[in-house]
């Protein structure tokens, strides 16, 4: 038999704020977290704005004790988000006597976290200082000497994508199954899905799951600008991300973290935990088409949606809301619309769909986690967040995108889609908890 898996806590650090309620209210109010870039001087870049985490202070309680030194921006965010989630789940404070009574091997971690940022100044200076103009290549002995003197060992290793889970394990003494996946923009949806499978199978009682990422650094923005994937509406950052709108022209890069506490239902009931919702379905697929483009008919997206429905034992008619991948690129939004039509058939035009990326930006590996949290809040408050910046209908995107205003709705079962660069697709289905 497989165990039921419920969500008992949530937390996030996002471009719209750093606590659950503030960010949710801002999403419902259609506010934007997108503004000119402050992380570095991007004024000469093709794209000069992003959805940055602003005015952020790492909680003193987490900083104390020196357990988390040299950590990357994303690891700060994910520790904070995890502590919010842990607290909401009414789990005992780390290092307290009550915490010591938990079985550490029954608490796992599964994140979809991205790599940390390069030590940019050191990295660039070393490269430029060892450039041999005659040979038009690096003089490696010079580079090696400089590198050995200037890079910080611990800060370098903190860039490994496995390090955020290392810090979660350390902070929460979580010694159960421990994994990180990095399937680009689908990563944290996939992490939540696979963490659910781990609890279903009985390999852990609790999984701390979600994702974190920050690519708002010069080479990150460079990479996406070269791909021409980013919106370049530099005069209008707030209006730049326009999912499903005919004038959409690219996504807006964001940063942050989202963490959910997933728990075996019996375990949650036994300790009288607050149950926020239940994870009932998960599907994963690959486009197997091109690393540069989605399959034009959304073949992989359709398969992920169908697999998740099958896993949940539900049909399209049971889905009351879809939290879209909805990046605001020409390709994604029309492909996703097409995929929803194929998977949902006649139901497609009846199901409301929205993309919070219009306000939150695209948190890349962390996007799926903050979108899953949004889904749970929609279930809790029976209201759907809008797709902001929607004004010009696109004939290729002709479904109900909850334009510009939040919408009260009876929602019992919701779906969240995430599609990664390269063709990995993941879908989660989350439901109101009913005993």
């Amino acid at each position: 038999m497989r165990h039921r898996v419920v969500i008992t806590g949530m937390g996030w650090v996002t471009p719209l704020g750093h606590d659950l309620q503030t960010v949710w209210q801002r999403l419902l109010a259609g506010q934007s977290g997108i503004a000119p870039i402050r992380n570095f001087d991007a004024r000469a870049f093709p794209t000069t704005f992003a959805a940055e985490v602003k005015d952020y202070q790492f909680p003193a309680a987490l900083a104390a004790g020196g357990r988390h030194k040299n950590i990357s921006r994303a690891t700060f965010f994910v520790l904070d988000a995890a502590m919010q989630a842990w607290t909401q789940a009414a789990l005992p404070e780390p290092r307290s006597p009550q915490h010591a009574r938990l079985d550490p091997f029954q608490i796992g971690t599964y994140l979809g976290s991205g790599e940390g940022s390069l030590a940019f100044d050191t990295f660039t200076r070393n490269a430029l200082s060892s450039w041999n103009r005659q040979a038009e290549q690096l003089d490696m002995p010079t580079w090696g000497r400089l590198a050995m003197q200037s890079f910080n060992a611990m800060a370098e290793i903190e860039q490994e994508p496995a390090l955020p889970i290392n810090h979660l394990s350390l902070e929460f003494n979580a010694c159960g199954p421990s994994l990180n996946c990095l399937t680009a923009c689908a990563a944290s949806t996939q992490a939540l899905g696979e963490a659910t499978e781990i609890i279903r199978r009985g390999d852990a009682q609790i999984m701390i799951s979600g994702g974190a990422h920050s690519m708002i650094h010069p080479f990150g923005v460079t990479g996406f600008n070269r791909l021409t994937a980013l919106s370049t509406f530099n005069d209008n950052p707030r209006g730049a991300c326009r999912p499903f709108d005919a004038t959409r022209s690219g996504f807006v890069i964001g940063e942050g973290a989202g963490v959910l506490i997933l728990e075996n239902l019996t375990h949650a009931l036994d300790r009288a935990a607050p149950i926020l919702a239940e994870v009932v379905g998960y599907g994963s697929s690959a486009d197997a088409y091109r690393v540069t483009d989605q399959h034009p008919e959304g073949r992989g997206a359709v398969m992920a949606i169908n697999e998740a429905l099958k896993d949940a034992g539900l049909t399209a008619a049971d889905i009351d809301y879809i939290n879209a991948h909805g990046t605001g690129t020409k390709e994604n939004d029309s492909t996703e619309t097409h995929a929803i039509k194929v998977a949902f058939g006649d139901q497609a035009k009846h199901v409301p769909i929205s993309s919070i990326k219009s306000m939150m930006g695209h948190l890349i590996a962390a996007a799926g986690a903050v979108e899953a949290i949004t889904c749970v809040l929609a279930l809790r408050d029976q209201i759907l967040p809008p797709t902001a910046n929607y004004s010009v209908p696109d004939p290729e995107c002709d479904l109900d995108y909850v334009p510009n205003s939040p919408r009260p709705a009876k929602v019992r079962t919701v779906m969240s889609n995430s599609f990664g660069f390269g063709g990995q697709n993941d879908t989660l289905i989350i439901r109101q908890f009913e005993a």
Partner: protein
């Protein structure tokens, strides 16, 4: 719950471009460690590494996909070659293999899988950008003090010359995304089922195999390509591993004897590269198509150390735990295990922790061996190569020796000297990443019910 077996293996390693060459090299006690020739490492304290013999990636992808090899970082190339090896070994006429055969399979032993029933889960590391490629672009935007001028990086002063960033290829970023190992492999072989990219350093491949195995057990796929690939053999890898004090810096004149896992004289490992891919398959599916079965996957477990980065438990408790969990998952007792391939980092404090963990779990230790003396450390490829080697040793009934372990610590029963024949029923492959993730996998001799 469905049983899952291994029906194909593929490897690229410093010992060669196939799983066969990996096994033969390990069996013969060959070393893949040599002076680094991929770049001038003369200013680094450690100047040795494991380098995969020269190959052309275009020889391992169908003609229609050759253009895409231009956007493959080294790590991706290694995984693509290992996957080709594995898929052919399993006699799967995937899209890529079929195209290479000109559309017709050679004989009835080849099977065309249903793409939607085949997954791909290949572990990866932090892929490093090509320093020369990046530096060549940065030079266009250098300040006099050798810092980068972000204004000129973003936009050129002179419309006739490109800005720094414009000197990078448009698809530059795609070369370095860790999920591209799985993505390219899934495109070449048309695998449309569950696809993931685990990034847990040395434990990635065991975790990837376990996750894909569960999808097959549950019935969500019939087959999967699993494993891992990484190259640490680049300047950034060498710099990072040197600063972390993981590398041997005293054997530059004797590279072949540098990596000494579980030896009293162990003094660090060497940076290396490689990829290992296995075809895993539902037993009923493998039997129906008459596939060759290497072994059955019988036990899987994972856990975390819960320790600060770089530290290891002084008694090896997490490794002992994950081993016990894998044994329980396989319904086996410690005494049932015939062979162990342990984490084996060749760094004394890690090696000691492993040895204590194994002594805790096993009253009488079975034979232990590792390829780390031959191969060094290749990050996400490390356990993938172990898994391939373990499948071969079990299937061939051969214990390959541990290179350079002349005087084992704590009298560990390492396989030493020449390889030897032995009946191997159950083999444990355990890994620990530097970041503390542990993965344990047990393969068992396949027996019909």
């Amino acid at each position: 719950m469905r049983r899952v077996v291994i029906t194909g293996t593929g490897a690229v390693s410093p010992l060669g471009l196939t799983a066969q060459s990996l096994f033969d090299g390990l069996k013969a006690g060959q070393s893949g460690i040599d002076s680094i020739k991929a770049f001038d490492a003369s200013s680094f304290p450690s100047q040795i590494g494991g380098s995969v013999p020269a190959f052309k990636t275009t020889d391992f992808v169908p003609k229609s996909y050759r253009k895409s090899t231009k956007i493959m970082a080294r790590d991706i190339e290694l995984a693509v070659v290992a996957a080709d090896n594995a898929v052919r070994d399993a006699h799967l006429a995937t899209r890529g293999v079929l195209e290479a055969f000109g559309g017709n399979v050679p004989d009835q032993t080849w099977f065309t899988p249903d793409p939607s029933r085949m997954g791909c889960n290949i572990g990866a590391g932090l892929i490093c950008a090509d320093l020369n490629e990046l530096a060549e672009a940065m030079v266009r935007a250098a300040n006099d003090d050798n810092s980068l001028n972000l204004a000129r990086w973003g936009k050129s002063d002179d419309p006739a010359t490109p800005s720094g960033m414009d000197a990078l290829a448009p698809l530059w970023l795609l070369k370095y995304l860790p999920n591209m190992l799985s993505c390219h492999v899934s495109i070449i072989h048309d695998t449309r089922g569950p696809s993931n990219t685990i990034t847990c350093q040395q434990a990635s491949a065991g975790l990837a195999l376990a996750e894909a195995c569960r999808t097959i057990e549950r019935g969500q796929a019939d087959l999967a390509l699993v494993g891992g690939g990484e190259s640490l053999l680049h300047p950034m890898g060498l710099m990072r591993w040197t600063l972390l004090q993981m590398l041997n810096t005293t054997s530059n004149d004797r590279p072949q004897s540098a990596c000494r896992p579980y030896d009293v004289a162990a003094a660090g490992t060497a940076v290396s590269e490689g990829a290992g891919v296995l075809v895993i398959e539902a037993l009923e599916h493998a039997r129906a198509r008459g596939a060759h079965i290497y072994a059955e996957i019988s036990g899987l477990a994972s856990c975390a150390g819960g320790l600060p980065l770089g530290e290891v438990d002084d008694r090896g408790r997490p490794l002992a735990h994950v081993t016990r969990r894998a044994l329980a998952d396989a319904h086996l007792q410690p005494g049932d295990i015939s062979l162990i391939l342990p984490p084996a980092s060749s760094v004394p404090r890690f090696d000691l922790s492993d040895a204590l963990a194994m002594q805790t779990v096993f009253e009488k230790l079975p034979a232990i061996t590792t390829g780390r003396g031959n191969l060094g450390d290749s990050g996400a490829a490390t356990q993938a190569l172990d898994l391939v080697a373990a499948a071969w040793m079990l299937e061939r009934g051969q214990l390959c020796p541990t290179l350079n372990c002349d005087n084992p610590i704590l009298d560990m029963p390492m396989v030493r000297g020449a390889s030897r024949s032995a009946g191997i029923e159950h083999v444990l492959v355990a890994a620990r990443s530097l970041a503390g993730q542990h993965a344990a996998v047990i393969f068992s001799r396949y027996q019909e019910e």
